[in-house]
Amino acid sequence: MSTATPTAETSHGHGHHDHAPDKLALLKKIHTFSTDHKVIGVQFLITTMLLLFVGGALALGVRWQLAFPWETMPLFGKLFAQQGGQISPEFYTMLFTMHATVMIFLVIIPVLAGAFGNFLIPLMIGADDMAFPLLNALSYWFMWPAIACFGASFFFAGGPAGGWTSYPVLSAIQEAAPGSGTAQTMWLLGVTFVGVSSMMGSVNYMTTIINMRAPGMTLFRMPLTIWAMFITAILQAFALPVLTAAGFMLLFERTFDFTFFIPGGLVVNNADPTVGGGQPLLWQHLFWFYSHPAVYIMLLPAMGMTSDMLACMSRKPIFGYKPMVYSMAAIAGLGFIVWGHHMFTSGMNPALGMTFMVSTMMIALPSAVKVFNWIGTMWGGRLQFNTVMLNAIAFVSMFIVGGLSGIFMAAVPVDIYIHDTYFIVAHFHYVLFGATLFGVFGAIHFWFPKMFGRTMNEGIGKLHFALTFIGMNGTFFPMHLLGVAGMPRRYADPYLHPYLEHLLPMNQFMTICAILMGFAQILLLVNFFVSIFAGKECGDNPWLANGLEWSAPSPPPHGNFPSVPIVYRGPYEYSNPDQPEGLDYWPQTEPPVPKPVTSPVPAPA
């Protein structure tokens, strides 16, 4: 595929400026307590990119055990192996618990809302900074206590071992599992800190988007990224308190002997029977009341950013802008009433199962509408197959898989069988890795020039994409089959069970793919950091995009815009035949040329 027009040399005309801004301006402030939203965005981005490696390494540990059970892991294996070169089963539980925790709370949520939300929101709506810059800085620095807590929890007996869902009684009684002790407490504190951090972010985003839009930036002239961030912020603001409350309840239960979740009469670790009248299902309801919307928190911003990237790289307006907005709103609304589909087999009232099934099926609808609209956006476009576009296409393609496999689980009777098998693992990895992370990779390549005034290396970007794409599908697609074969999640050694024995070769194949994928991420890191210093210099608008952010210098100085931008049109006026200069883009800030009044009859051809 050819890399067509919009590249570095195209920045002539627009955005040529006399002063050469310091391209490393943002990087130089990264260690400071800066209240500049762009610095905070870059801080978030770099932190989460590094944490991505931690989470990935944990995942490779899990994969290793599944492919080569009880054998010493390469590289660090000797460090973890306990006796006879084996890891212990509680170490395995810690591996997958922390993999999920790191990926969800420290990578995906912060990279979307924290990094791109911070960086893009003021730029895209034409504001000089966030509404509450100090709060914004705090939201980044509150990540660190969380990282410290999560990090510390590794070192307490067994590590947190309740899974990222931390279902009580396992997570509530100290003796229930190795790691249900101090490690679990640290884990809960970590979640609380992350919660506070996201909360500060979301309040900020909502206020900023509502109050600080540039003149002319009406709600329906906002890019979809902003819509997505806005809706995400609302979701977060309403769902997060529930998780925080639940977390505190669990914390109180563990440390002060409150009784919320532990019923009486349980004999755990052969201790005396418990006394109390709690109900473990309560936690599940509270937890999923947050964590299902959290799935959309982890997806919507990526959807928004992908929409922007697709439109720009197809040189076409978004197909059905308003339906896109409405469907995001619908996802957010419905997202609050579908949490029960995580609990179909949990023993809650079966009538609830039916209601949740209907609402869950319905939430697939806005997702479907979005997919169709994305395809519509690309339909008839002049596609630029660069790294950004490839990642965005992968987002759409993978999201289709993740969405469709969700229908299996939404159907309660089918879910009876596939619940808590690898089918579910496949499903949410297609959504969170296949969709969200590809969206993020695309976004990194897309907005990198805005951050550092240089472009990332296109060739390495493509190689990274190809390896990740192959590795990702090689790793996660077979998981559907594992799930259908009945392989339960979170098993340290599934091959103990005769009916799963034959799955070993498949797991080995998946592990090799996962290793490939893991190493491919080094490319991203190398590309990112080397390109900061050595990437090809580009102007302010290398992609010839319409968004407000592209009319600011790269990187934007403190205060972003030289003067308050005025918005004249929506963000997706690509290839508009009315564009006076015949260009295929029409920046939002470009004043409209008053139409010369000519004869209504077009000139004969």
């Binding site: 339906p323 079966p350 103990l496």
Partner: protein
Amino acid sequence: MVWPIAAVVLCWLAPGWNWWFPAGPSGTGAAMSPLGERIDDLFYMILIITTVTFVGTQIGLGYVLFTGARRSDQPEDAEGEKAWFSHGSHNLEVVWSIVPAAVLLFIALYQMEVWAEYRVQDAFPKQVIRTGPLAEVTARQFEWRIRYPGVDAEGNPLELKPDPQPTDLYTVNDLRLPSSQPVMIWLRSEDVQHSFFLPELRVKQDAVPGLVIPVWFEAIKSTEYSMLCAELCGWGHYKMKSRLVATPEDEWRVWLQELQVEQNYDGVSDESNDE
């Protein structure tokens, strides 16, 4: 965009490589309970719908990419060089909202009955309601402890009481129940949350601490089935390997009698003097 083709081909071949439903006693991966068969039917129905959608959308995507790529390869000044300028189509939006909505709603409503039968007590098979539970399965870290009612002097099983009785019989990791008839168990947990999973019968139900949950199922064939835990319950989660042995009812009764004799064995009485 080779990959959707590869995915479909893989799925199509997978059963042939035994990468499909657990082969089970039938060797084919077919569900071994009537309800399980219906679940499988629903599964295949969704599979067909999603496969069509999947292939359709991916082909659509591929087509769009292909034409888009062609367009961008054309020289700058050629006719139709610019992208098609369109903000969308209301009619299309309506079509592709209503069609999936109808399909999804259909799927949801179509599933209701099976779910009701599996979980709603009023919809349980009559026989199960009449006979009551035949065993109580208690999950604990990391095994299944099973309590059966004892047998009376004629060798008929007694009624299973919620509380343990002196006459009760016990096994561990070895659930035995009559085959070819719906049977019910009580499911409970002694410590943390577990999940009772019979892959070949497509039965899964969490064992929630503090609740006693009735679960019913029917094994078509008299044989041994896998039984395991599907909800993280601690470090030994994967160790909860056990079995369900389904036998014809009269054999089951004989086995229960034998179990009673064995459980009351005092080292001396070789005859059936089991009191």
